[in-house]
């Protein structure tokens, strides 16, 4: 028999329950149930020392949400500025193109008139 089997056998050997075991179980069952905890008691449980991670998460979120908001607004403003610059650029290039085209047409007209003369 290996040591492992022997250990298992020792660990799983049958043991008799203590003499007052049945009595203790019955007395616990007969005890009246305590009052239902209120919602704020349940909420307060979150703040108990073992749940400090929730506090840490809350702090983290309360910092992250405003930062994300500011970042989002900054991005929106940049996009609006970019769109405005684009519109102005398209307008400026088209005005320039239009005027240059107009001058070219006038030069061609004058050239045609000269040829006729």
């Amino acid at each position: 028999m290996s040591y492992l089997e022997e250990d298992l056998k020792t660990a799983l050997r049958r043991e008799a329950a203590p003499s007052d075991f049945a009595e203790r179980v019955l007395s616990r069952l007969n005890q009246p149930a305590g009052p239902e905890p209120s919602w704020w008691e349940l909420l307060a449980v979150l703040l108990l020392p073992p749940r400090l991670q929730w506090v840490a998460l809350s702090v983290l979120f309360s910092v992250m949400i405003p930062v994300a908001g500011v970042q989002y607004r900054k991005q929106q403003r940049m996009r609006a500025e970019g769109e405005r610059a684009k519109e102005q650029l398209v307008f400026a290039v088209r005005v320039a193109g239009d005027k240059l085209h107009h001058v070219q047409q006038r030069v061609l007209e004058i050239g045609r008139m000269d040829t006729r003369l």
Partner: protein, 180 residues
């Protein structure tokens, strides 16, 4: 240190000097019924070009055209009545265009309808540039482009697309601050 400062100032002045000084035209805004004032220098021009869509054929053309530009300045004034601007307003621009590098490639004067159109090109220096002055009794347009530009492509854009119906509101001091 002083030499370094002087050198920095000289370089700055040279870079600034590439664009024409059109500030004296701003006073015409009060007399005009319609004003379009576009000032797009280095960073703003790049941002604007970045927002142009490569999928839209017209915008793609403009994007290609402005790729090497350093500044685009347009001032257009439309007046209800004749004589709102003076010859001195144009002469002041012409004087700036007499500086080295600039040469007038087209000059049209029509005595019949009082139209005056001039096209100047800046060559022989790094960057290049274009200036257009179009004036008739009720309208004055000045265009200044700083940087290398293909005239054929620019003219093609004007011929095929025409001036868009963008409602650029009458220049306000607040807007001007934004532009600069």
């Amino acid at each position: 240190m002083k030499i370094l400062w002087s050198l920095t100032l000289c370089i700055g002045a040279a870079a600034y000097g590439q664009a024409l000084d059109l500030k004296h035209l701003d006073r015409l805004a009060d007399k005009a019924s319609n004003v379009a004032d576009v000032t797009l220098d280095g960073s703003l021009l790049k941002i604007g070009a970045k927002f142009l869509s490569a999928d839209d054929p017209d915008q793609a053309k403009i994007k290609k055209l402005v790729a090497e530009l350093k500044g685009v300045y347009v001032k257009t004034f439309t007046f209800e009545q004749e004589g709102a601007y003076s010859e001195a307003d144009i002469t002041s621009i012409r004087k700036q265009l007499q500086s080295p590098g600039w040469s007038r490639i087209v000059g049209i004067q029509s005595k019949k309808n009082g139209e005056n159109a001039e096209v100047y090109l800046k060559t022989g220096q790094p960057g290049g540039g274009l200036a257009i002055i179009c004036a008739n009794p009720k309208e004055l347009t000045v265009v200044n482009i700083v940087g290398k530009i293909d005239l054929d492509e620019l003219s093609e854009l004007g011929g095929s697309l025409g001036v868009p119906n963008i409602d650029l509101e009458k220049a306000k001091p607040a807007n001007k601050k934004d532009d600069h």
